[in-house]
Symmetry: C2
Subunit: 229 residues, 2 copies
């Protein structure tokens, strides 16, 4: 019973924190404001989280989980064997989500990582890896030759390839992801991220009137380069 209550108020804390984030931005999520809204005093929150930044870190986790759910839902409506359609769906889903949740996007992506945090384990990084890995493993595709990846980044691309295969469950060997594919995925990510971040932050170097064709042509160009449909 007591556990139930504790879990319930914890859920309320995170929900209210999330609401404050979308209403007033990251600087509006404040221990006292949260406490006020759920009818509690601020120090009580320290029974649940060690500090404000600790709480925010958990909110980041919730945000990423929601994004993952969203993308999962989008992907569920696309045939599993249509790789091109699945890639398009997840890219469009990412952009749509980012535009609909600009403050969450800013919190998760544009918060400079603490120098102490180890590289490569940020929450969305894992989501991205999981989804692309899943798509790649579940459907046939052309495997780009490994010669395409420049020699000087073979080591790092191999690291990324390992991250990809580790992200998709890893119980059975599943050796189906090569260096060329990993390199392609990485380039995909750089451009998708750049495009979406520029749009969400409104940092295109001119006053864009309609960003959707911009996004769609980028996506089409990307797909063509990669040999997708």
């Amino acid at each position: 019973m007591t556990d139930r209550n504790r879990a319930e108020t914890d859920r309320r804390i995170r929900t209210v924190a999330r609401t404050l984030l979308v209403e007033h931005g990251a600087q509006g999520v404040t221990l006292r404001a949260i406490a006020r809204r759920i009818g509690i005093t601020a120090p009580a929150l320290y029974r649940y989280y060690a500090s404000l930044s600790d709480l925010i870190q958990h909110v980041v986790g919730d945000v990423c989980a929601d994004l993952a759910d969203d993308l999962g839902g989008v992907l569920a409506e696309v045939p599993a064997d249509d790789t091109a359609a699945r890639v398009f769906a997840v890219c469009r889903g990412f952009r749509t989500w980012a535009i609909a949740h600009p403050r969450e996007f800013a919190l998760v992506f544009a918060t400079p990582a603490d120098p102490g945090a180890s590289s490569g384990n940020d929450p969305f990084g894992r989501i991205f890896v999981t989804f692309t890995g899943g798509i790649l493993a579940s459907s046939p595709r052309p495997e780009p030759p490994e010669d395409d990846v420049p020699e000087r980044l073979r080591a790092d691309i191999a690291l990324f390839r390992d991250t990809l295969v580790a992200g998709l469950g890893g119980d059975r060997p599943e050796p189906g992801i090569g260096l060329g594919t990993a390199y392609t995925v990485l380039r995909f990510w750089v451009r998708l991220y750049g495009q979406v971040a520029l749009e969400v932050f409104d940092r295109f170097p001119f006053p864009v009137t309609d960003a959707t064709p911009l996004f769609e042509s980028m996506l089409a160009e990307l797909a063509a380069e990669v040999g997708l449909s």
Copy 2:
């Protein structure tokens, strides 16, 4: 004389604000901390700036001016008629500056724009436009055919082209920038921004050991696609 003093303390305010930014991040630049460091009380700063965010906005301007100076210096050492070398120099200069000034980069780029601010007039956008416009106007290059730009974004690309030509002085007509070139520049910017932001924010989806080859291969690929050297 009085004007001199005012300008001098103003300069000191911005310098100290900048120092606090690089030492403790954006949240470390605080009116009281600035005042303390220059031997003044906090309310005195309101004789110079309307609010903290107003001050920070001016610091953003200073940061952008410094970046522009840096890129200008880099570009001064490259022959004016070697377009490829100039493009490489400014791209590498941008990355180098961003890595050397992560906090300034985060402040300028990753601060979500106020919904009130009009699009396309953020300080770095103008720098980018000025430099690329300058390079394009000062040296010969292949002009991509306008057919390459998809029909649905002709209007926006035309807007961007206008921004580009307006950014390079605009006294003489100088009609030398076409839609194809503007589209190319925009795609360049998306990828450059994505690559640099991911690197500076340490958001690559795997633990990168050496980001330089990653950047260089992106740059080479980009240049090849565009037909540069």
